[in-house]
């Protein structure tokens, strides 16, 4: 690879104005439950999330990207696959809120038939990300990488804010996950070449339960 397109780097940038800053990727309820208290816990949490929800999101994003030139109405079917892989209603709401925001940001930035096809809907975030990646000139592998990467960095930044962790130590921990992120992205891109019904469906029941507890919590800083 000669280098990464700047347009794709935009999608991986945490400053992308697409609503991600208000979501902790399950880190806030994990902190509330005492499961994440330091950088070591956080690393374990992020690795687990990457292998489960991260893999599923990356595969959905890759599939959406691969489909970007296909018939518009088929996005509904992919969105249904995302629903089926997201048992927690709170997580489905969070995924759709972020998908809607990402779609707004992408449509304000690029013109692409896949973005038009999704206009006016609130797709799951990975579906919107796949379409946005295509619009930015990327392919399914890029979509999978961005999904896997931002899933990790979003949670890491939430932990820095919630626990006052040393951001340098957290950055080092995220860098330590780089090979795992790449491996998950490669697996996801590979899986996206097959039928949608067979996309990865790795589950993380604790994340699902955390998401539900979090939605009902009185005190919380993050939407999810």
């Amino acid at each position: 690879m000669a280098g990464t397109d700047a347009a794709l780097l935009l999608l991986a940038d945490s400053r992308l104005p697409a609503g991600g800053h208000a979501h902790s990727g399950g880190v806030e309820p994990a902190v509330a439950a005492g499961a994440v208290t330091d950088v070591a816990d956080l690393t374990v949490f992020l690795r687990g999330r990457l292998a489960t929800a991260g893999l599923v999101a990356a595969a959905l994003a890759a599939a959406a990207c691969a489909h970007a030139a296909g018939p518009a109405d088929a996005f509904d079917a992919l969105d249904a696959e995302a629903d089926a892989r997201t048992p927690s209603p709170a997580q489905r709401r969070a995924a759709r809120a972020q998908g809607r925001s990402l779609l707004r940001a992408a449509r304000a930035t690029w013109a692409h038939p896949a973005l038009d096809a999704l206009a006016g809907t609130a797709p799951h975030h990975p579906v919107a990300l796949g379409a946005a990646t295509a619009a930015a000139g990327g392919g399914p592998g890029d979509a999978a990488s961005i999904a896997a990467f931002t899933g990790v960095t979003g949670g890491a930044s939430a932990a820095v804010r919630l626990l006052g962790l040393d951001p340098l130590a957290v950055n080092r921990a995220v860098a330590g996950l780089a090979a795992d992120i790449d491996a998950v992205a490669a697996r996801a891109a590979d899986a996206a070449r097959g039928p949608w019904a067979e996309l990865p469906a790795a589950s993380a029941p604790v994340l699902d339960l955390y998401a539900e507890l979090h939605a009902g919590a009185d005190l919380r800083l993050f939407e999810s």
Binding site: A158, L221, E223
Partner: protein, 218 residues
């Protein structure tokens, strides 16, 4: 500081066919929610209104407004800001835009949507992608040197409100000094001294809001 805000003013209202979006920002506890409630009471009979609150940790502000019944419950929406209140009104306005658009869809014909920021510091400023106009609220009891320290909110907001003037004598704040320091950095933009204790209707501020909301003739 040293910023030049003269060329950075809002131009003619971009509001055509939708509600005017009014941001209310300012430090923690300066009276943003109390002012929002006062404006709702003063304006709700003449304007079609809704409110978005950006609570830091709870839904306290939205709950207060509902409890006070300043508007029907379905006209008040709370947004969470992920520990970064200024990000939600400035760098990434997605959640607030979603909330505003949802209110507009639910209540066609809205004239005014007030977005109350979570309490923040003096550098907070609403993005023009979110707010057409913005008010920055300072608290007299926060110290009479605050306008002199300036900051984006004090200098560039369309209206600066110096609130809780009833407390000035108790905390030893010099109101005339606050007003003149503010005027120096504000390049002619208006400043209103206000006390919600002595003027619960926020008369002067409500009049300013009326002057910026384009209302169709009945």
């Amino acid at each position: 500081m040293g910023g030049h805000f003269g060329s950075d003013e809002h131009t003619a209202s971009p509001v055509v066919g939708r509600a005017l979006r009014l941001g209310i920002g300012g430090p923690v506890g300066s009276g943003k929610t109390a002012l929002t409630a006062a404006l709702c009471r003063s304006l709700r009979d003449e304007l079609d209104l809704a409110v978005v609150t950006n609570d830091i940790y709870t839904t306290e502000d939205a709950d207060f407004l509902r409890r006070e019944a300043v508007l029907a419950d379905d006209r008040i929406t709370a947004v969470r800001t992920g520990a970064c209140p200024h990000t939600a009104i400035r760098d990434d306005i997605s959640a607030n835009l979603d909330a505003v658009e949802e209110l507009e869809a639910r209540h066609p014909g809205l004239d005014l949507v007030i977005v109350e920021s979570g309490g923040d510091n003096l550098t907070a400023l609403f993005s023009r992608g979110l707010a057409d106009r913005q008010i920055f609220v300072l608290d007299v009891a926060g110290g009479d040197d605050v306008p002199r320290k300036g900051g984006l909110g004090v200098a560039a907001a369309d209206l600066l409100v110096i609130n809780k003037t009833d407390l000035a004598e108790f905390v030893g704040s010099d109101l005339a000094l606050m007003e003149s320091d503010a005027a120096r950095v504000r390049d002619g933009r208006p400043v209103i001294l206000n006390s919600l204790r002595t003027d619960p209707a926020a008369t002067g501020i409500a009049a300013w809001v009326r002057s910026v909301v384009p209302v169709a003739a009945p």
